[in-house]
Symmetry: C2
Subunit: 330 residues, 2 copies
């Protein structure tokens, strides 16, 4: 009989197929395209992107020219635009405002063919520093209430370019899904006076069923009520609500566990497309006892269909314990 599991943070129910758990080889993974073409994100084509916001690497370098190790540019086709006011308005029943926000692209490496599992940790630390630096810079703009950092890898995950890149969107409101996590964790804190994420980490330290890997500062695990097969969460073991409160030592551990987790996913699932997103606390109140920043990695192995769209629930064909075991032993 399938099992219904409730996510302790959001309250979302997920249907887990515990009777006939689907094995990694039973997922049809579309092969990633052969990467070889030079693109707008490669050396020598810097003029093809909007002028860069910042770049890491050699110090004495002309802007928008080669030599960088990581480069941040505005998105050429932004979901929101940086200039202007919100201009809130209504038409009868309907409310609208202008799409004011920042939409940046982080070109993670000049190497068109080097994904996170292929890179050395120094390069991944640099990527994580860029997430932090851009977040700190953009939060000076008081129009913004939230900054989302995310990465789409592969066509099935919605990536339209295959040169390794992450994205960052700063927006004038706290998004619905983050509000859902905050509301859930506030409610939990209200009667337990403890952070729900810290409690999950403590419980997992005893059970060990959901652990993919861990090190001094981080735990990588498959959530008890995972929406998607092989969904994995990376979370700091110590309580931190604001991602930007990271230091050299913590970033070192994060770079290691991010590479390790993505390498396991690539190996077990034959290089699947994935999305990852970083949820940190809203900018208005970044230091809070009831929220805990984390990264959600979602391999794209199943299609979201009518049932999911109609209910908001998910059907997960692989129990998280089995996913964790397979990833752990890879």
């Amino acid at each position: 009989m399938p099992e219904l599991r409730r996510d302790p943070v959001t309250g979302r129910w997920v249907i887990i197929n515990t009777d006939n758990p689907r094995q990694p080889s039973e997922y049809k993974v579309e092969p990633q395209p052969k990467k070889s073409v030079k693109c707008a994100f490669c050396y020598g084509n810097e003029k093809m992107t909007p002028p860069e916001i910042t770049a890491y690497g050699v110090e004495k370098r002309e802007k928008n020219s080669p030599g960088w190790t990581l480069r941040v540019v505005p998105n050429k086709f932004p979901a929101m635009q940086i200039e202007g006011n919100l201009d809130k308005a209504g038409i009868g029943l309907f409310d609208m405002m202008k799409g004011v926000g920042a939409h940046e692209v982080i070109i993670e490496t000049p190497d068109h063919n080097s994904e996170i599992p292929d890179r050395d940790e120094k390069q991944i630390r640099e990527l994580l520093w860029s997430y932090r630096d851009r977040s700190l810079d953009l939060r000076k703009d008081k129009r913004f209430k939230y900054i989302l950092i995310f990465k789409n890898y592969g066509f099935s995950a919605g990536a339209s370019l295959d040169h390794p890149h992450s994205q960052l969107i700063a927006m004038p409101f706290v998004p619905k899904r983050v509000m859902g996590e905050i509301e859930g964790s506030v409610k939990y804190f209200g009667y337990r006076e403890r952070c729900v994420y810290c409690d999950m980490i403590r419980q997992e330290a005893e059970e060990k069923d959901l652990t993919v890997s861990e090190n001094k500062h981080f735990l990588s695990f498959t959530p008890f009520a995972s929406r998607f097969p092989y969904e994995t969460c990376i979370i700091p073991k110590e309580h931190f609500s604001d991602f930007t409160n990271i230091n050299d030592e913590i970033i070192g551990d994060l770079a290691y566990i991010l590479k390790d987790t993505l390498t396991r996913i690539r190996k077990v699932l034959k290089d699947p497309s994935y999305n990852y997103i970083l949820h940190s606390a809203p900018l208005d109140d970044p230091e809070r006892d009831d929220f805990h920043w984390h990264i959600e990695i979602m391999p794209r192995l199943t299609k979201v269909a009518g049932f999911e769209w109609g209910t908001g629930f998910y059907i997960n064909p692989t129990p998280p314990e089995l996913a964790a075991k397979t990833l752990r032993e890879a």
Copy 2:
């Protein structure tokens, strides 16, 4: 500048690309597979499905044999199972229960190759009657709180079989997404004392910008804050919260507008995959002034990516007014 629009029912913000609206031909639609193979849902293979629950067509016919015009069977790989108790339990932080529910497949026609736009209206009326009949039968089981009817058409919409079929899941709770609609419409009713859906229909009767087509009893329109390009909603013009309160005349109009809308979508978008879902009021309280049943049709033209997963918001590259105009004039 992109426009942010708020859905008046759920409060969800959507980003609409109003500057460079994407045209129908700019969406990459995966062609549907050639349909020719005989499958478990075709005549003569009735023994390959679980024993039928009901069938329409000839009266004197042996069960599970040819001669039917529509056939309802239990899903061979059900998301939930009909027998047993919920057995709610907890492990530390985590809550779970058994996946008790009904998961039925409605084989819409014996013709492997006849999708809704290909059928005559009599056949579509029969399909709609089956939605009603199965709903009325299943709601006698008091364990169930909600019944969702949905259809996945095409691989990109998550359909694993290409013989025309719909699905029905009866479940022991009201799903999150329906609760979201109910909470929003209750809130609206609280200060306006009117149904928010009725108000949308009234506003559209004046504006006409979002209308795809209409007849005496139904309006087919693209919602103001559509999440997906060419998303279309079919709704009864008169206030009804419970789908099962339909009669011959209403079903005739619904069959006509469902076929008409899906035919327009097929024509304009070159036979895209789609999901549709039917949202009726929860079973505990089906007759209510603040909710209005409707069908949401979602062509699958874009990938849901990191931004959507991280925020719960959607980016829609085609303004609903443009989608409505294109579909209306098709």
